[in-house]
Every structure is written in C-alpha cells, then in structure tokens.
C-alpha cells in the first residue's frame, strides 16, 4: 500500500481508529444516542473552530475567539428581552466587527495576528465585563424558549445543534470551495505574493477571514448562551485551546493554504472522542491532562501532511 496515497486520509482514519478503540473498551460508547449526543455537545466548540479555521487557513491565528464568544453570551443575554430574534443579528454583527478589527490591525498596522487578536480579545473581554456588570446573567426561560428554542430542540431524536453545525459546515465548505472568496483565501494562504501580483485585494480578503472568524465565534457564543440560558464574561472560557487544537489535529497547519473546514470537522470530533475516552478508559484525574497532551502529540504526528510544509518551524 502506498503510504503517500493514504496521507490525505489520515485525519479521518485517525478518528475512526479512535472511535473503534474506545468502542472496544466500552461498547456503550458506540450507541447511536451517545454518538449523537456527543456530536451535539461539541457543536459550539466546533463552530468556534470553524471560524478559527479561516484565520489559520490564511496563515494567521485568532486568539480573540474565546473572548468574543464570552462577550456574545453577555450581549445575547442582555439584548434578548428587548430585541428578541434580532439579538442573533446583534451578536453576529458584534463578532463580525471585532473580527474585522483584528484583521485591520493585522493587515494594515502589521501587528502579527498572534498579538493583535490577543489584544482585541482583551478589549472584547473588557466589554463583556462592563456590559455584564461583572456578574453572571441568566435568560428568562420562557423568553429563551420562545425566541431561540429552535436552537436547542430535538427532531426525531436528533438535537437541533447538529443541524446548525451541519448547516454551518456546509455553508462554510461551499464558501471555501465554490466561491471567489474561498478561492482567494486559498491563494492568500498558499502564496500571498502571487495573490497580490494577480490583483487580488489581499488586505480585504484577510480582514474578511478574521471577520468571519469573529462572526463564527459569536455564533458559537450565542448558541452556547442559549444552551446554557445565560451569559457571563467567563462562560465560554476553555474554548480557545481546544478549538485551536481541533483545527490543527484536523490537518490545517499554521502555514496556511492547506486543510479546510472538513478537516476541522474531523479534528473537532477527534478532540471530542479523546476527551470522552478519558472517561471510558477511567484515566485517573491527576493523569488526564498529561494523557491528553501525549495523545495529542500522537494525533498531530499522524494527521499533518508534511509534504505540504516547506519548512517545519
């Protein structure tokens, strides 16, 4: 068997192998309801990872995603009584603007995205604290159900989060593979100078990529806020590193132009499986983090396609 030919398929082979391994350890894991529930629960994280994919796809990173999501949970909770469904629009817009701001600072002011997004994240976090009055807020349950109940409901045993996640992955996949914007993103990621020399508006494309990342982070925050029926400036804490890990494990390396949203889907599922495998293998509490790190190294070592990395930095 030609190893070169398998390489592009390694991410999902890894995923499948993990599922099988955990399934052998405990058949309960393989029950459809369990797998569906697991998939539904990972959706907010997945949406943030989707956004992160765009930032990483052009060779940057978005460290503001978590703070943007945090802010969105607060905004959503505050705006819900006044604006109803319009809340969603406000949240998405807020995310889009903050992401765009990161993009602007990165491309126009030449601040590396690692720093610019971290800084913009600080601004988002301050905004969240200010808006929330520095306390956890909660949504009125009936109001939430009337307005956003469709987000968290069930149809034929399938939680609606899965539909939302599926819709977004299809939409972003379409955007990535079938639109001029997606093509331009790939060009910018794989060869920015050539994209400039082809007359593409590279600055705008990069700003849009960050804006999209912010927008999806805001959707993640909104969904999470609805799911938890409340908001707080720290509610989405703990999203950031798993989201980055999900993108990377899926096979979108930080060098840009390689990978994409489908990779992130697989990567997120790998993260979800690794996480729940801790339970199924009954890993001791004090060992979990170390095991997670080790499995992560193994998974990344397996999934990244090194042929497309010129220099391993």
């Amino acid at each position: 068997m030609d190893f070169e030919r398998i390489k592009p398929h390694l991410p999902w082979i890894t995923l499948l192998a993990l599922v099988v391994i955990v399934g052998i350890a405990d058949a309960n894991f393989l029950r459809p309801q369990n797998l569906i529930a697991m998939a539904a629960d990972i959706v907010p994280l997945f949406i943030m990872a989707l956004g992160m994919t765009f930032a990483i796809y052009i060779g940057g990173i978005d460290l503001s995603a978590q703070s943007v999501a945090n802010m969105t949970t607060v905004v959503a909770t505050i705006a819900l009584p006044t604006y109803g469904v319009g809340t969603a629009l406000i949240c998405i817009l807020a995310g889009f603007v903050l992401g765009g701001l990161s993009g602007y600072v990165t491309t126009k002011l030449f601040v590396p995205s690692f720093i610019s997004t971290l800084a913009i994240g600080g601004i988002a976090f301050s905004t969240a604290q200010w808006l929330s009055g520095q306390r956890a807020l909660f949504m009125d349950a009936t109001l939430r159900d009337n307005t956003f109940g469709w987000m968290t409901g069930n149809t034929a045993g399938i939680p609606h989060e899965i539909f939302i996640g599926a819709f977004l992955v299809l939409a972003t996949y379409f955007l990535q593979s079938r639109t001029t914007f997606g093509r331009a993103l790939k060009a910018v990621g794989a060869g920015e100078p050539a994209a400039v020399a082809s007359g593409l508006n590279v600055t705008r494309i990069k700003i849009m990529a960050f804006a999209l990342s912010g927008l999806l982070a805001a959707i993640a925050g909104l969904l999470f806020s609805v799911k938890l029926s409340g908001g707080s400036p720290t509610l989405a804490n703990g999203f950031l590193l798993p989201a980055i890990v999900a993108v990377l494990v899926g096979g979108t390396p930080l060098t840009g132009g390689v990978g994409g949203v489908i990779n992130t889907l697989i990567g997120t599922l790998i993260v979800a499986v690794i996480r729940s495998s801790m339970l199924y293998f009954e890993i001791d509490a004090t060992k979990q983090q170390m095991v997670f790190g080790l499995v992560l190294i193994a998974a990344i070592a397996l999934t990244i396609d090194r042929t497309k990395l010129r220099v391993v930095k």
Binding site: T179, F181, A187, A190, A195, V196, A197, G199, L200, N201
Partner: protein, 503 residues
C-alpha cells in the same frame, strides 16, 4: 582528480541520472549545460552531497568517497555557490562566511569576533572585495553578495587539505555585464587554487569561461566539448536534440505596432522618489517596449508603478487614457494590466493550487455569478483550452502548479493574463531560468500577443533578448532615461549601443 563513474540516480517515476561519467581536473573550469529537466541540478546535488547516488562511484584522486550530506562533501573540498541568493541577510558578512564553521574562532565557548573579522577580511581579499566584515549583509548589493558567497566557499581552502571543486550555479543571473566580467576574471585567477564547475543558461558565458563543456540531455551526458571546438549552435542542437531556429528571437515575425492608436500606457514626467525620475513614454497597441538597464536602474520600479504596486511621487500616469490617481494592483488588473513577475514561484503562480485555479485567479469575477459562486466547469474548460493552445505539459487541470516545470509555470501565468483579456502585459525576466525550448515558446507568445494588439513592457533577461524582441528600447541608468531606440527588424541597435548608455 574528481570523477564520477556510471553514477545513477532514480526518483519515483523518473530516472534522473543515467550512468553519468564526469571528470574534472586540477585547475579546470568545466561548463555544464542542458535544458531544464536534463538532470543538471540533480547532478550538482550529487556532487555536493545533497543526494546520494543509487549506483556508480565517486572518486577523488582515485579514492572512493560517499557523502551523506553537504557537510561531508565540504570536508572533501567540494563547495557550492548557490543560484539563489544564499546569504542570510540578517547576519553580518563574516558570520555568513563562517556559518557552520565558527568553531575555529571559539575558545572556552566564546566567539572571538576580532579573529573572525580578520579571517573574513582575508577571505574577502581573495575575491577582491573591500568591505567591513561586520557589515550586515542586507545592506550589500547583489553583486557584492555574489562575491561574498564565493569568498565563503573559498574558506574551504584553509579548511581542507587537497584540491577544491567549486560549483557555480547560475552565478551571473543577477549581475550586470561588467560585474560578470569581474567575476570571470576572478574565477580565472582562482583556478590556481580550485577547479570550477560552471552552470549557466547563458550559453555565451559558458563558452567564454569553460575549458570543457558537458552537455546533458534527459539525464545523460550527450557530449563533452572542448573550449576551442565549441560553438553555440552545435551545443544548442545537442541540448535540444533538434535545430534551433536561426531566427531565435522571431525577428521575422515582428510587425510594426499601431503607432497611431491611442496609447495603452502613458507616462508623463513621472518620478518615484529616488528610484526613477522624470520618465516619459507611450506604449501603443502591439508594441514591445523594453526597459534596459542594470539592476536598480529603475526598470522594475517602473513596472511596479504601472501595475499599481508603487505610487509615483510626481507626474502623470495614464492607462488607456485614464489618469491614475489610486495605485492598487486591483485597479490595474481591472484596466487590463497583467504582470508576469520575475519570481515566478513566489509571485507568479500559487504553489498548492491547481492549473485552473491559478489561471482564473486574476479573473475570478468572470467565472462566478454575482453572488460570488464559481462556475468550476467553465474554469476547467478554460484551462483545457489554454493547455492545448500553449502546449502546457501537465497531466490534467488538477495538477498542483508548484509541481510544474518552470516553462510550464510561465505558460500558466501568461495564460492567466491572456485568457482574462489583459492587453497591457508586463514581462519581468520572462525567460529567466527557462531552457531553450521554453524560451522559444515564450518568444512566440510575445509575438502572438503583439499581433493581437497587446502592448508589452519587457524587462529582458539578456540584452540580446531585449534587442531581438522589442520595437522600442529605453535605456535607463540610475533611474534616468538615457536614450530611446527604435528597433525595426534589420535595423536594430547593437549590444554596444546599449551598453554604452547603461554604464
């Protein structure tokens, strides 16, 4: 003294070197020529230790050797001066010279900068370069850097007992003519200490410098010619395996341009800081306008201004009668400007994207509906059409352009602009690094575009190329236009005419 016997190298699907015999004597300068893909670079990599041969022997003075990496080759006196600028620009000159061999200046873990500086000075003296070894490399000119690279390789002299073999890979590509002369005289002087293997696409230079010339084709050495019996035509014939058109630059196909038509590009007293001053010209449909000058004479800056990458500080630039106020590449592209950059792999094509994606990159709007959704089948049709038209060698439209040969990459870039309807084409060293066959294809395309009424601004690889191809030549020196030549077929200026104004 250095010899390859029946050296073989295979890659998956390619037999890159077929039983190569190669020999170089003490103090000899050996030329190595061949089309791209003939196996020159593989052979060089075998020689300097980057590749290990699959079969055959390498001997030095009759002793068999085997190099695992370039470092081991260096220890045997084999050094490489690279084609691309291979100095690390954020380091000082002396650090570059002794990179990887600093240990000689280290005592108790501390680098003795004074000693290194003195040693670097001695190396620089060998190449007659008088600069402070503590200079940061980025502040040197290209020619100076080339000499520093040579000086760096010459450190082998002190390090290695025995003879040196130095590979020069396209050392002249960034040099102006007088710098080339300097380099050549230096190399001739140095034959007392080292043998040289000289690789270049510039046939005249190879003929001028080499004692013997190895001609390669399809992974084989097809001939070895001595200096005296060598002539360009026969060598080219052997390289290509067919007759090279006597009318190399397609002069016979040159037709007058439409001088009465409104100009496509018009410069009126345009200046851009210190890069160029007070430049005026008109580019007409069908005209090939060549900017001639040394590196840094302002040629590239003018191209960049037309393409919108650099705003001028003074003067009026018009494209198709429209006076430009905002200088962006998007603007230029939408007005029909196409740019074929010198750095083909970096700026020309996007490695990692396939043929049709590259071809439509500048004109995605034409292959998408108003919502920005691409019509991919139409893109593929376009790509197939142009693959046929320009005879691009690619298995299919899905091939990653990064994996195409240089000539085919160039064709993809040209197809990108031509298919998008660009009628102002900027060609920056369009034949750089291409083999003869691919060069001729490019020349044909230039004529074809010219016939179609496309205006072309050319910065040529060689002066011959500039003379052969152009209708008009503007000679630049230090950012100022020195003289303009009209070049009707049969009445072209001579090399001397141009050089006279360049320097």
């Amino acid at each position: 003294m250095y010899e390859l016997r029946k050296v073989d190298k295979k890659f998956p699907g390619v037999h890159a070197l077929k039983a190569i015999d190669f020999k170089i004597g003490r103090g000899e300068i050996v030329g190595l020529v061949g089309e791209n893909g003939a196996g020159k670079s593989t052979l060089m990599k075998v020689i300097y230790g980057a590749y290990q041969p699959d079969g055959g022997d390498i001997t030095i003075d009759g002793t068999k050797v085997r190099f695992q990496n370039p470092r081991q080759a260096m220890d045997h006196g084999i050094g490489m001066v690279f084609q691309e600028q291979s100095l690390i620009t954020n380091l000082t000159v002396m650090e570059n010279i002794f990179l990887g061999f600093e240990q000689q200046f280290v005592s108790f873990g501390v680098i003795n900068w004074k000693a290194m500086s003195a040693a670097a000075k001695a190396q620089l003296a060998k190449v007659k370069l008088d600069i402070d070894p503590a200079t940061i490399t980025s502040s040197l000119s290209f020619a100076q850097r080339q000499l520093v690279e040579l000086a760096k390789v010459l450190t082998l002299e002190e390090r290695v007992d025995g003879d040196l073999v130095i590979l020069l890979d396209e050392p002249t590509s960034v040099l102006a003519r007088e710098e080339v002369e300097l380099l050549f005289s230096l190399v001739r002087d140095l034959t007392s200490r080292a043998s040289f293997i000289f690789v270049s696409h510039r046939m005249d230079e190879v003929l001028e410098l080499s004692d013997r010339i190895y001609v390669m084709k399809d992974g084989e050495v097809v001939d070895v010619v001595g200096h005296d019996e060598a002539d360009v035509d026969s060598i080219q014939h052997k390289m290509v395996g067919r007759d090279v058109d006597k009318e190399y630059y397609r002069e016979q196909k040159q037709k007058p341009y439409q001088a009465d038509a409104p100009p496509l590009v018009s410069f009126e007293n345009v200046s851009a800081g210190t890069r160029y001053q007070n430049i005026s010209f008109d580019l007409h449909p069908g005209e090939v306008l060549c900017l001639v000058g040394t590196e840094g004479s302002g040629r590239e800056a003018i191209l960049r201004t037309i393409f919108g990458l650099e705003a001028p500080s003074e003067g009026k630039v018009s494209l198709k009668g429209r006076v430009m106020s905002r200088f962006t590449a998007q603007n230029a592209v939408s007005l029909g400007v196409g740019y074929t950059p010198r750095e083909r792999k970096v700026e020309g094509i996007v490695g990692g994207m396939n043929v049709y994606e590259n071809m439509t990159l500048s004109q995605m709007r034409n292959y998408a509906n108003r919502g920005g959704v691409l019509r991919i089948s139409a893109e593929k049709d376009l790509a197939r059409e142009w693959i046929d038209r320009l005879a691009i060698k690619t298995p299919d439209v899905y091939k990653d352009c990064g994996g195409l040969s240089g000539g085919n990459q160039q064709k993809v870039v040209l197809a990108k602009w031509r298919s998008g309807g660009s009628d102002i084409i900027l060609l920056d060293h369009p034949t750089r690094g291409l083999d003869i066959g691919a060069k001729e294809d490019v020349y044909d395309m230039v004529r074809e575009m010219s016939d179609d009424g496309v205006g072309i601004v050319l910065v040529a690889d060689t002066l011959e190329e500039a003379i052969g191809l152009s209708h008009t030549i503007i000679v630049l020196k230090d950012g100022i236009a020195q003289k303009q030549f009209a070049c009707e077929p049969g009445n072209k200026p001579s090399l001397f005419d141009l050089v006279h104004h360049m320097i």
